[in-house]
Symmetry: none
Subunit: 417 residues, 2 copies
C-alpha cells in the first residue's frame, strides 16, 4: 500500500520554513508497512491543491493532507479536496457547536469566520481535535483513504495516532517489516553500488536505498512480509551476502556513526585516545566528543595549526619539519607519538595535510593528508589524497582518520587480549 | 514567473531525512523575483518522476530537479526528464572524458557504471561540477527552463550560482535587485522578529526572509526595481532602521559567517588566537580553521576533555579544579590564561561546560557553559546556559564563544591602536 503526503501552506514555500509533519507521518506509516512514495508542498492555492489531490488519489491508496484547515480565506484544503473528488461541502451545525464550546471554555466568543471550519466534505467522518479549533476529516474515495489533518504538530500528531491509525489498520493486510541499516567507510558510492548491485537487484522482495555523504555510505534494506519471521527470513537471504562483499569496509550494522563505533571499541578495550590535528583543526576531536560519555575513553589533544605550534606544543624538532615539511609521514608519526606522550593515552591519532585552497607541493598537492596512528607497540602512517574544496577534504580526512583507528581496534593486537 | 522544485531520492522519503536543497534554491529564486509555487519529493521511481516533471512543465516556467544524477540504477532523473519531454538521451564522450579525468586525478580508475553519467538529454547544455562526478544539465522546453542538479549541497549550490543563475537572469524581464544579508548572534528568532517586525512589515516593496540556526539568525532583504539605483534606494529606507535596532547583535552585513568575521578582525589587528576546549571538544577550533588562510591568525590549542588533561596539558592546579570543579569561572579563566601562555598568542578563548545528557550540578545544571577570554591586558569570563540536547548546547556554546571574541575585537582596547 502506497501513501502520499501533501502539506498545504504558502509559508512552507519560503526559504526559512520546512514541513516536518511529514517526517512524523512517514515514521508512523512505515511502521504500518505503508511506503510513502511522494511528498508535496502546495501553497494556499485552491486550484493547484485540487490538482495535486486528484493526481495522488488516482494512484495511491493513502493520501494525508496537513494544514489549510483554519478559518481564513487562505485555508483552502476542505474546498480543494471536495472539488478534486467531485463532492460537496456540507454545513454541519454539530461542528459549529463544538468550536463554539471550545471558545466558551477559553472565555471567548467564536468569531464569525470560524464558521468556515464547520463545513464537512460530503461522506467524510469528523476527527476531533482537543488541541485546536480545526477538526480533521477522514473519507474514503473508492479504495483510497484521505485524511485532512491540521498543520500544527501538537494537533496533528494525536489526531493521527488516535483517529487515523486505528482506521488505517483496519484497511491494511496484516504485515511486518524487517530492516537493516549498514554504514560503510572508505568507498565511494559508485564502487559500493558496483560491488553490491549484482546482489540487491536480484531480490525484488527486499528494498534497497543507498545514501552518500563524504566518505560515508549508508545502506538501508527493507523487507515486508505477513509475519515478522517471514520478513526477517527475506532479509536473512540478502544481508549475509552483502556483509561478505563489504568485508571490513562495513563499520556499522545498526546505523551508528563511525565516531560511536570507534568509541565503543575503545570502551570495550578500556583504552584511551588522544589526537593531534593540523589541517582538520579540531574536527576529529569534535566528532569523537559528539558522543555522550566519550570522556570514558577520550582524553584530549592538541591542535597544532602552525609549524611553531608543532614545535612548542608537541615538541617536534624543527629539524624534522625543515627536512620533511610539516605535511609528511615523519611529521605525522612524530605528532602522534608526541600527543600520546603528553596525554599518556593508549592510542593516538594525528592528521596533517593540505586542505586548500592554497598550499601543497608537487609531491603532495592540495588534498594530500597524512594520518598517523599509534597503538600499543607500534606506529603507522597512511597517506590519502582527495579532490574537492576545503570543507570536503577536511571531512574526508577526518573520516579516514576515524576509520584507520576503527580497523586497528577491530584487529586483535599481538600480545593483547 | 513561477518555479517548482522536485527533489529526487527515496532516502528523502524516510522519516529521518529532509530536503534542504529546496530552501537554498527558494532563497535564490525569490532573490531573482521568482516565486516557488510547489515543492515535491519523489522516490527513485522513473515513471512517477516523469509524471511529476510533465505536470510541472505544463504549468510553471522554471523547474529545478535535485538529485538522482549518480551512476547507479537508482539514479533516474536523466531518464525520467527525457521521457517526460519526449526527448532522447545521447551518449556524450566528452562527459565521459571529464569524469574519467577526475578519477585519474584521484589515482583511480573510472568504474564502468559511471558511464551512465555521460548521457545528456537531447538539446541540454551541460553544467560542470568541480565538486563531484555528476554533471548538471540545463534545457529549455518551449518557454520552460529545466535544470537537473546534483543532490549534495556542496555540488548543487555552486552549480546553481555559477551556471543556472546567469542563465535564468537572461530569461527574466530586465529588473534590478538590491539585497542585504545580515547575520545576528545571541538572539532567538522570536526576539529578532518581535524587534524588527514593526519596521519590515511597513515596507511592502522590500521582501524580508528570516532564517534561524542555533545561535545564528540570518536576515535577507530584497528590493526590486527597474534600475539598480531605485532598488538600492528602497533598501536604503529600511536597512538603517534595522541596523539601529540590532546594534551590536548584528555581526555581518554581507552574509559572512561568524568565524570569518572574527578571523578578519584578528587579521586586521595582526593578532593571534589560541583556544582551550573542554565540552565543545574542538568545535571552536574547527570553525575557525574552516576559513581559508586562518593560519595567519590561528595558532592552535588544547582539547582538555578530562580533568587530568586540564592539569597535565594546561598545568592548571588540581587544587583549583577540586575547589571550584572544572565547570566554573576560575577554571575557565585559568584555561584561557594557560593556553595563551603555552601558545604565546595575543588572544585566547576557553570553553568548559556540561553539554549533557549527564553531568551538571544544582548550581550549574546541564547546559551551563563558562567561556573564558583573554585579550591583551585582561581576562574575562561569561556564564551562559542553554536548553536542548548535547549537539545544540555545543553549537550554541561555540557560537557564544566566537561572539564574545568578536565583541571584544570590535571594541577599541585601552592603550591599543
Amino acid at each position: 500500500m502506497n501513501a502520499e503526503i501533501i502539506a498545504v501552506g504558502s509559508e512552507l514555500l519560503t526559504p526559512s520554513r520546512i514541513d516536518t509533519d511529514s517526517l512524523f507521518l512517514t515514521e508512523r506509516l512505515n511502521g504500518l508497512g505503508v511506503a510513502v512514495v511522494s511528498k508535496c508542498v502546495v501553497g494556499d492555492d485552491r486550484q493547484r491543491l485540487a490538482a495535486a489531490v486528484a493526481t495522488a488519489a488516482a494512484r495511491s491508496e493513502v493520501i494525508i493532507l496537513t494544514g489549510g484547515l483554519g478559518p481564513t480565506e487562505d485555508d483552502v484544503t476542505r474546498d480543494a479536496v471536495a472539488s478534486a473528488l467531485g463532492r460537496t461541502l456540507e454545513y454541519d451545525p454539530e461542528i459549529e457547536a463544538v468550536i463554539d464550546a471550545r471558545f466558551r471554555r477559553m472565555g471567548r466568543t467564536m468569531a464569525e469566520i470560524n464558521k468556515r471550519q464547520a463545513y464537512r466534505i460530503s461522506g467524510a467522518e469528523l476527527l476531533e481535535n482537543p488541541n485546536g479549533t480545526a477538526p480533521g476529516q477522514w473519507l474514503m474515495a473508492g479504495e483510497t483513504a484521505l485524511m485532512l489533518l491540521p498543520g500544527p504538530p501538537n494537533e496533528m500528531k494525536p489526531m493521527f495516532d488516535n483517529h487515523c491509525r486505528p482506521r488505517l489498520e483496519k484497511l491494511l493486510p496484516a504485515q511486518a517489516i524487517a530492516t537493516r541499516f549498514y554504514r560503510i567507510a572508505g568507498m565511494p558510492e559508485s564502487d559500493v553500488d558496483q560491488l553490491l548491485a549484482p546482489v540487491y537487484t536480484r531480490y525484488k522482495d527486499v528494498a534497497t536505498t543507498i545514501l552518500a555523504a563524504p566518505g560515508d555510505i549508508q545502506l538501508h534494506f527493507y523487507a515486508k512480509a505477513p509475519t515478522a519471521e517471514a520478513a526477517e527470513a527475506r532479509l536473512g537471504v540478502v544481508a549475509p551476502q552483502i556483509e561478505a562483499l563489504l568485508g571490513d569496509r562495513l563499520y556499522s550494522t545498526n546505523g551508528d556513526p563511525l565516531e560511536k563505533v570507534v568509541g565503543d571499541l575503545l570502551d570495550k578495550r578500556g583504552a584511551t585516545l588522544a589526537v593531534a590535528e593540523s589541517c582538520t583543526g579540531g574536527m576529529v576531536a569534535e566528532r569523537i566528543t559528539s558522543v555522550p560519555g566519550s570522556s570514558r575513553y577520550f582524553l584530549g589533544g592538541m591542535i597544532t595549526y602552525t609549524d611553531p605550534m608543532k614545535e612548542s606544543l608537541l615538541q617536534i624538532s624543527d629539524g624534522l619539519i625543515y627536512k620533511f615539511t610539516s605535511v609528511s609521514e615523519p611529521v605525522a608519526r612524530a605528532m602522534a607519538e608526541a600527543v600520546r606522550f603528553h596525554c599518556q593515552s593508549d592510542y593516538a591519532l594525528s592528521v596533517t595535510g593540505y586542505a586548500g585552497p592554497d598550499g601543497g607541493t608537487e609531491r603532495d598537492p592540495v588534498g594530500t593528508v597524512y594520518i598517523g596512528l599509534i597503538r600499543p607497540g607500534s606506529v603507522e602512517c597512511r597517506r590519502v589524497r582527495y579532490l574537492g574544496d576545503r570543507d570536503r577534504v577536511r571531512k574526508l580526512a577526518t573520516q579516514a582518520a576515524l576509520d584507520f583507528l576503527r580497523l586497528t581496534l577491530e584487529t586483535p593486537h599481538p600480545g593483547q587480549a
